[in-house]
C-alpha cells in the first residue's frame, strides 16, 4: 500500500515537564519529566501501540500530541504542520482531525447529555452541516458502532461499559477525523467485551483509513492491534519495532522483562519468569544521569549508569536505546 509510507504524525524530541511545587522557599523548582525527549512517527493508516507501566509517560505523550497538554519542548508534525506550539485558534482545524477515546467510559461522557447530544456535540463545535444532516449522521454512526436507533435519547447511565465506549467511538468519528488517540480504550472492559471493541476499531480503521495511536498496558491486546509498537520507561522510549519483531526478538532488557511478566493463558506455559525484574519503578522525580532502567536492569554496567544510551537501529525498523 502506498499510503502506508506516508507519514501522518511525526513527533520529534517531545518533552513534557510538570512543575511540582518548590522545595523550600521557592528557589529550587522541581520538575517532573513525564515525557523526556522522545521521537517517533506514525504512517497513514497505521496503528502505533505505546506500552509501558503506569507512570511511564505514555498517556502524557498521547495527550501532548493531541494538545490536551501544553508541550514543554519539541515538535509534533501533523500532516506537515507543526502543532506543538500552536495557539488554540490555530489548533481548531486540527482538533477536528485528531480525536481521542479515553479509558474510562464512565467519566468521559457527560451524564446529563443524551446519546444524540453527545454524538452531535463535536459536529456542532466544528460546524458540521445542518441540524438535519447532523441528526442523520448520528443515526448512521450509531449503526456503525453497533447501537440501535432507539438509543438516541437515552443517557450514559443506561448503558454498560462496552456500550459507552461505543458511544465514545461514535462521538470521535462524528467529525471524520484522520487520527484517533486511543488512550487505554479497553482497559476498563471485560475480556469478551474488549474483543468486541477491538474488532470494531479494526473494522472502522479499514473503512475510513484511520490512523491510531493505541496506548495500553495490556501487551497481548497491543500486539494484536498494532503494526508497530513503542515501549516507554520513565519518560523515555526504550524500543520501537514492528509488533511481531518486538515480541519475538525483544532487544531491550526492559522489554524482555515486561514480556516475560505477561501471564499466559495456558497452564502448560512456563511459570512466570520474574527472575529478571525486582522492585518498583523508581520515582520519576529522581535525577538519573545514565540509562533510566539501569537501577533495575540485571545487566547494567558502569557505562549504563553514567551515559544515556542513544536510539540505534539494530535491524530494519527496529530501534533500541541500550548500550548492550
Amino acid at each position: 500500500m502506498s499510503t502506508k509510507n506516508e507519514v501522518l504524525l511525526d513527533v520529534r524530541n517531545l518533552k513534557k515537564y510538570f512543575p511540582t511545587g518548590s522545595s523550600g522557599f521557592g528557589r529550587e523548582k522541581k520538575v517532573l519529566k513525564a515525557v523526556d525527549d522522545i521521537s517517533f512517527h506514525i504512517h497513514k493508516g497505521e496503528t502505533f501501540g505505546l506500552v509501558g507501566e503506569s507512570g511511564c509517560g505514555k498517556s502524557t505523550t498521547g495527550r501532548s500530541i493531541v494538545r490536551l497538554h501544553e508541550v514543554t519542548d519539541g515538535e509534533v508534525w501533523f500532516d506537515g504542520v507543526n502543532v506543538a506550539q500552536m495557539n488554540e485558534k490555530g489548533l481548531k482545524p486540527f482538533r477536528k482531525r485528531m480525536q481521542t477515546i479515553f479509558q474510562d467510559p464512565y467519566s468521559s461522557l457527560n451524564p446529563s447529555m443524551n446519546v444524540a447530544q453527545l454524538i452531535r456535540e463535536p459536529m456542532e463545535i466544528h460546524g458540521f452541516g445542518s441540524k438535519k444532516d447532523q441528526h442523520d449522521r448520528v443515526l448512521e454512526l450509531l449503526e456503525k458502532v453497533g447501537l440501535k436507533p432507539e438509543h438516541v435519547d437515552r443517557y450514559p447511565h443506561e448503558f454498560s461499559g462496552g456500550q459507552r465506549q461505543r458511544i465514545s467511538i461514535a462521538r470521535a468519528l462524528s467529525v471524520n477525523p484522520e487520527f484517533i488517540l486511543c488512550d487505554e480504550p479497553i482497559s476498563a472492559l471485560d475480556v469478551s467485551v474488549q474483543a468486541q471493541v477491538v474488532n470494531m476499531l479494526e473494522d472502522l480503521q479499514g473503512e475510513f483509513g484511520l490512523t491510531y495511536l493505541f496506548i495500553a498496558h495490556d501487551l497481548s491486546m497491543v500486539r494484536h492491534i498494532s503494526n508497530r509498537i513503542g515501549v516507554m520507561y520513565l519518560g523515555k522510549l526504550v524500543e520501537i519495532a514492528p509488533s511481531d519483531e518486538l515480541y519475538t526478538h525483544p532487544a531491550h532488557p526492559y522489554t524482555q522483562a515486561l514480556l516475560s511478566a505477561i501471564p499466559i493463558p495456558d497452564p502448560k506455559a512456563a511459570a512466570l519468569d520474574t527472575g529478571m525484574l525486582k522492585g518498583d519503578l523508581p520515582s520519576p522525580m529522581a535525577e538519573m544521569n545514565g540509562c533510566k532502567f539501569s537501577s533495575r536492569c540485571p545487566f547494567a554496567t558502569e557505562q549504563c549508569r553514567q551515559e544515556q544510551p542513544e536510539m540505534k537501529e539494530i535491524s530494519p525498523g527496529h530501534f533500541v536505546a541500550c548500550h548492550l
Binding site: 507501566e53 503506569s54 454498560s160 461499559g161 462496552g162 456500550q163 471485560d190 475480556v191 469478551s192 467485551v193 474488549q194 474483543a195 468486541q196 477491538v198 474488532n199 479494526e202 498496558h217 501487551l219 497481548s220 491486546m221 500486539r223 494484536h224 511481531d244 515480541y247 519475538t248 522483562a257 515486561l258 516475560s260 511478566a261 505477561i262 501471564p263 499466559i264 493463558p265 495456558d266 497452564p267 506455559a269 511459570a271 512466570l272 519468569d273 520474574t274 525484574l277 525486582k278 522492585g279 518498583d280 519503578l281
Partner: protein, 335 residues
Amino acid sequence: MTELLSVQNLKTSFMTREGEVESVRGVSFDIQQGEVVGIVGESGSGKSITAKSLLGLIQPPGVIKEGKVLFHGQDLRQMTEPQLRAIRGNQIAMIFQDPMTSLNPVIRVGAQMIEVLRRHQKLDKAGARQRAIEMLREVGIPSPEQRIDQYPHEFSGGMRQRVMIAMALSCKPELLIADEPTTALDVTIQAQILNLMKQLRDATNTSILLITHDLGVVAQVCTRVIVMYGGMIMEEGTVEDIFERPSHPYTQGLLRSIPRVKEGQRERLVSIEGTPPNLLHPPTGCPFMERCPHAMDKCREMPPYFVPEEGHRSLCWLLSSDMQQQKREQEGDEQ
C-alpha cells in the same frame, strides 16, 4: 487431602428499589487443603459477592438468603459475630483489590499489622512488632525496620499489596481469599505478587481462593478453576480441563476472546456478542442462552451439571447423553 471449605447452595441477593437482584444463585464448591482455586468471570458474574458471602461480609441491602459455608465442617453462617471474628483474619484471611482503600491511611503500617497480630496471636507488643518486621521482609519489602513506621501513602501500589499479603498471612491462615489482588497493579509487579503468593502457599500449605477476571493469571497459579456467569457456576475443573478441554460454550467463548500471541498470525478476535443477563429478572433457563451460539429450545430449561470427566462439571445441555450421541453421529456422517 481433606476438605477445608465446603460451600453449599449459596444464594445472595441485593434488595434494591427496583426489586431483588439475585447476584449469587445457588453456588456450591469445595476447597481442599493446599489447593489454589480460581473463580473467573466478568464483572457482575457474582464472583466477588460469592467471596464476600463466605465470610459474611455482605452489607445491606445485600442478604445471604440460603446456603451453608462449612469450614472444617462447621457452618460459618450459624456462628455469632464474635465467633466469626475469631476466624476472620486468623484462620481465614482476605485481601482485596484495592490496597489503597483497605489500609487505614492515618495509621502507620506497623501499627495496623501489630493490631492484627496482638488480637489473633496473643503476642505482646514487642513480639508482635518483631513478627511484623519479619513478615514485611518475607514479602520482599526492603528495609522493613524503617518501613514499618511509615504511613500507607508512603508505599507504592505494589508495596501496599505486599503489606496486605503480609498482614493476611501474619496469622498463618488456613485459607486466603484474594479478591482481584493484582488487578490494580502493573504486569511486572503483578508477576512478583503472584510468585510471592505461590511461594507462600508452598511454604505454609495455605489454601488460596483467587478471584480474578484474568485468565492468564488463573492459568499460571491455580490448580482448579471455577467459571462463573450470571450468578452461577458454569463450569468447574482442573486448569487443564478448563484450558484444554473447555466444555461450556461460555468458557470456550471466553478463551477465544483472548488474543493469542502467535507469530505472523493476526486473526480476528472472536468476541461473545451481547451482554450478560440482568440479574434483576434472571432467566429461568441457562443464563448464557441469549449469547450462546449453540442455544436451542431445551436451553429455556435450567440444565443440570453434567460431568464429562471426573472432577470436571459443566452446566450445559450440550453435554447431555442425547446431545453427545447426536454429536457422535454427526461426526460419523462427516467422516
